[in-house]
């Protein structure tokens, strides 16, 4: 496969290019499309070749296509290469090749990365993508540090690089150049900014801890405010000329920073509010919701640019602020659409940027080589970044609760990559005012290549080398493996208990304010209700119980009440169609022909497979060992520790696999619900047995277990579900836990009276819970009659931990009778 890729793709690209070169050599006439009849016509042309008609769009699309092919070939290359050299570097190199081809054909670089193209068509979607998927909590909790790095770090870099270069120029190291101090400072300001595109591209390959990542990433996004200001200020100063700069101008410059930065952010927030309101209002035309995100995001960018505010900041804050509301308001499908589309656009843009960065290099017109200037720039950029980071971190660590370690600082300083933004700014310089523009462009390009290619390649080995002490040399024994994983889980749990982010007065106050006022304004009422997280989990569990019920019933052949009963089906459809059709269309379809429905995805195979090889006793041990290790390797649940990456260009929702999460969830919630149930119902063991279906009698009344081990939740369900042995014993409920007494499986309660006012939460009013994406995909719909769902427990400790949002119906009845006998404590959803 790889070798054929090697052969085909470059050839295809080469051929394409020759074709384009040939074609674009033709005249540049752009006529009205479809106007076929031209001047001197001797006969009727049947088919004509109309290159001029399609030239512009065709070239654009061809370039997009070529960039896509380039990315494809880069990814499909030998994995060894891609693991050493980051994609971005490979794309640039490929750009060199392509540029060489174009150059060879045309003797001039017809395709350059022009600043308007870059700034208006390629950059906005990358920033929008970055901000839309930004881990907000992490971002805001580190916002102080990020701002310090972005503002002071960038200013420091700009000033020191500019001044040092000027100093060296004055010292005569660079030879004769037509440059003044202001121009050096201008150059410093455009080369100082860390570039978000490059940072994402390189850090994607290198897994660093999340705080470090957010610091570098956040800095790269927020420093645009500073860069834009510095660039414009120095540009204006250069135009004004040296003598007219006095204190007034300088103070204006500082003031403009405030205006540009805060203005840009504020504008972004305004657009975010607009977007949230828009998505709130689209109830019936959900198909265009997804489009709004992109349109409004782009509007935010352009509007800010029009007002000469910081466009990147505007888009950043638009994305950051609207995430939550947009995701809550939109239909599940729209959410997925937006995510996928964003990733496609962002990936595409990034690829094109890097390819064009490469192509642009192959152009003899722009290259001016001045050894001193270039080498000194590289040196200063590198050194001052390191100094700046260490200095600022030293100051920050005095105030931070969690100090930033030295290793992190090294990675941060090494990760200060420059990229296309710097090049774009350099290309926008006015040649009249800055005669050495080409020198600046050349230097910028060299700096970009150096950082992206060299630093990109060496970043991963550096990170690994710095952390090299933890390497495990020998094969771990089973117990070590098990414990390692257990420790990971323990750590993750304790981190959650401690609250990684911190819970001070400000965050709580803000959360309260946000919940009460902002969400009320920006979120759909339906979405607001669904925020009750535990409720949705409970709902999911109920659905799973329902499935189990059906499968059990099927196994026993008692599905007549579902199958034959027309009424049930009809009721079901009628009731739900209007209200829930838009929400759960897939489920409706499933239910309508459930013969085809396979519930094996839910119900686990209950027949244990004999997996051990029992050939001979002598071989057993070795095989056991192998199997055991293999099993542990395969099946241990991964903990959060293994998924550091909060933001990735090509993936989203990086988490444990859906099944894993679901399994753990179900188990935990089930065990909790169980212990609560038993706490309530454990007081009255006797009465429960008689009332119900014979199936429940198989539950074990294990009254003789004083110590709470072996949690016997619904063994029938266990057999149905397969392998739950209640391992997660809720030890904290130990004392309240009277074992198994009367824990009949609520799934099999046989009261099937039809109560039309179903108190299933999703049937209550029109505004009900929309099952999550996962529920829709995995779980079938439940028949109307499904009632045996686990009763809601009214906790004695806190009033609302497990209660649903719509408390109305069920709980008042139960509130007053917490200790009564069983007849009263019937399943809640009748």
């Amino acid at each position: 496969m790889a070798s054929s890729v090697y052969l085909c793709l470059p050839r295809a690209v080469f051929l394409l290019f020759l074709v384009i070169q040939g074609l674009s050599g033709d005249g540049n006439l752009v006529q009205n499309p479809r106007h076929r009849v031209e001047g001197n016509l001797t006969g009727l042309p049947i088919v004509t070749f109309e290159w001029h008609h399609v030239q512009t769009p065709y070239l654009v699309i061809i370039w997009v296509f070529v960039a896509g092919l380039a990315k494809l070939s880069v990814i499909e290359l030998n994995h060894h290469v891609t693991s050493v050299i980051p994609e971005s570097a490979l794309l640039i190199i490929l750009g060199f090749l392509l540029g060489g081809i174009v150059w060879g054909a045309d003797k001039a670089q017809t395709f350059r990365l022009r600043p308007p193209t870059f700034f208006y068509y390629l950059l906005p979607q990358i920033i929008l993508d970055a901000s839309y998927f930004m881990p907000n909590k992490l971002f805001f909790s580190n916002l102080g540090a990020i701002l310090i790095y972005a503002i002071f770090g960038t200013c420091w870099n700009a000033a020191t690089v500019g001044l040092s270069l000027w100093g060296c120029y004055e010292a005569g190291v660079m030879g004769p150049l037509d440059i003044g101090l202001l121009q050096f400072l201008l150059f410093g300001s455009l080369i100082a900014a860390v570039d978000p595109v490059a940072v994402i591209a390189v850090f994607e390959e290198v897994h660093v801890n999340e705080v470090l990542f957010i610091l570098v990433f956040g800095e790269s996004l927020l420093n645009d405010g500073v860069t834009v200001v510095l660039y414009n200020v120095f540009d204006a100063f250069v135009t004004l000329g040296g003598p007219s700069i006095d204190a007034a101008e300088i103070s204006k410059g500082i003031f403009s920073f405030v205006v540009v930065a805060f203005g840009g952010s504020f504008l972004g927030v305004v657009f975010a509010i607009l977007l949230s309101l828009l998505t709130r209002c689209t109830k019936h035309i959900q198909i265009i919701e997804a489009g709004f995100i992109f349109v409004v995001g782009y509007l935010a960018y352009l509007t800010a640019d029009m007002l000469s505010l910081s466009a990147i900041l505007s888009v950043t804050f638009c994305g950051i602020c609207c995430q939550k509301y947009v995701n809550a308001n939109m239909d599940e499908k729209s959410v997925t659409t937006v995510r996928h589309a964003m990733k496609v656009l962002a990936n595409g843009s990034e690829t094109m940027i890097f390819v064009f960065l490469g192509v642009t290099a192959i152009d003899t017109e722009i290259w001016v080589w001045n050894t001193g200037f270039i080498l000194l720039t590289l040196l200063f950029v590198f050194i001052y970044r390191i100094i700046g980071v260490f200095l600022l971190t030293w100051m920050l660590n005095k105030f931070r609760l969690v100090p930033i370690e030295v290793i992190d600082q090294v990675v941060m300083s090494y990760g200060g990559l420059r990229g296309a933004v710097a090049y774009g700014l350099a290309a926008m310089l006015d040649k009249e005012k800055i005669p050495e523009k080409n020198l600046i462009i050349s230097t910028t390009l060299i700096v970009v290549y150096f950082t992206v290619i060299l630093q990109g390649i060496t970043m991963k080995p550096l990170v690994q080398w710095l952390k090299v002490k933890r390497a495990a040399h020998s094969d771990l024994k089973l117990i070590e493996k098990l414990n390692n994983r257990a420790f990971d889980h323990i750590l993750a749990a304790v981190e959650d208990i401690c609250g990684r982010i911190g819970d001070n007065w400000w965050t709580r106050g803000w959360n309260r304010f946000e919940e009460n006022y902002i969400s009320w304004f920006l979120m759909k009422p339906k979405a607001r209700k669904n925020r009750d997280y535990l409720f949705s989990i409970f709902h999911k569990l109920n659905l799973v119980d329902a499935v189990n019920y059906v499968s059990e019933g099927e196994q026993q052949g008692t599905l007549a009440f579902i199958r034959g009963d027309e009424a049930a089906n009809v009721d079901f459809k009628k009731q739900f169609d209007s209200e829930f059709g838009d929400v759960m269309p897939d489920i409706m379809v499933d239910m309508s022909n459930y013969e085809n429905f396979s519930i094996t995805s839910i119900v686990k195979d209950t027949i244990p497979s004999v997996s051990l090889d029992i050939h001979g006793q002598d071989r057993k041990n070795g095989l056991d060992d192998f199997n055991a290790h293999h099993l542990l390797q395969q099946h241990l649940y991964r903990s959060r520790k293994h998924h550091h990456h909060k933001y990735s260009r090509s993936q989203f929702g990086i988490n444990q696999s859906e099944d894993e999460v679901q399994e753990i969830f179900q188990r935990t919630m089930r065990s909790r619900l169980e212990s609560f149930k038993s706490a309530k119902m454990g007081i009255n063991p006797a009465k429960k047995i008689t009332k119900h279906h014979k199936k429940e009698l198989t539950h074990k009344i294990a009254n003789g277990h004083p110590d709470g081990t072996g949690h016997l939740y619904g063994d029938e369900v266990d057999s149905a579900v397969g392998s739950e042995t209640g391992a997660v014993s809720s030890t904290f409920m130990r004392d309240m836990y009277t074992m198994g007494a009367g824990i009949e499986n609520p799934v099999f309660l046989s009261d099937m009276d039809s109560h039309s006012q179903s108190s299933l939460p999703w049937l209550m009013e029109t505004e009900a819970v929309a099952p999550s994406q996962r529920a829709q995909r995995h779980l079938p719909w439940t028949p109307n009659r499904l009632r045996r769902l686990a009763p809601m427990r009214i906790s004695t400790c806190s009033t609302d931990s497990f209660l649903m949002a719509d408390v109305s119906l069920t709980l008042e009845e139960h509130e007053e009778q917490p200790q009564t006998d069983h007849e009263e404590i019937r399943p809640v959803f009748d």
Binding site: R500, N504, D624, L631, R640, F665, R672
Partner: protein, 194 residues
């Protein structure tokens, strides 16, 4: 924070707490804020439901055990002191602590960390991890695809590897010995509790 001292004063016996656990005042305040946030009704102590509110714990296969570890046997509530003391287990080890012969081992010493982990396995507190208890832990941590027999074989092998005195259970000493190559300091420490 301007209210540092006043917040500290509100916590009873905070000096003793800081001494025992080694947390700095800033950390104590942070943990106190967290405690208050979890204790939604302001009762001054936490009960299991409050821990249950933490969403991510439901995603954790042994989350419920860890919650249980906060509650001493017989008690149903956790007060702030206990909360902090348990979390102190996860402080990174102070490398440059002077070794005082008479002072008790700090809570975050290697062996105390191991004891904490051991208690998570040993639910009935008899000082040994029996085969059943190990099975339960394995069950919790392994996916549904693993069958009972596979589970039992893993448990058997694990005990075999670690059990030195052949009593078919893992005592604390055996547990410690089997993990001597593992860097417990790293594996059971949370950076931001330094």
């Amino acid at each position: 924070m301007g209210s540092t001292n006043s917040t500290l004063l509100k916590i009873p016996n905070v000096e003793v707490l800081m001494q025992e656990t080694g947390f700095s005042p800033a950390h104590i305040i942070r943990l106190h804020d967290r405690f208050k946030a979890l204790d939604k009704e302001g009762r001054g102590h936490l009960c299991p439901q409050d821990f249950g509110e933490i969403k991510e714990l439901a995603m954790n296969p042994i989350g419920d055990r860890i919650i249980g570890a906060f509650f001493s046997p017989g008690k149903e509530t956790v007060d702030f002191h206990t909360f902090v003391k348990i979390l102190a287990h996860f402080r990174p080890v102070d490398k440059d602590r002077p070794k005082e012969p008479n002072s008790p081992e700090p809570i975050n010493s290697r062996s105390n960390k191991l004891k904490f982990a051991f208690q998570l396995y040993d639910q009935d507190k008899d000082g040994k991890i029996s085969r059943d208890e190990l099975l339960k832990v394995l069950r919790a941590m392994l996916g549904m695809q693993v069958t009972e027999e596979q589970l039992e074989s893993i448990a058997d092998r694990t005990i075999q590897e670690a059990d030195l005195d052949r009593d078919d259970a893992i005592s604390f000493e055996e547990f410690r010995k089997s993990l001597e190559k593992v860097n417990i300091d790293h594996k059971m420490s949370i950076r931001f509790l330094r």
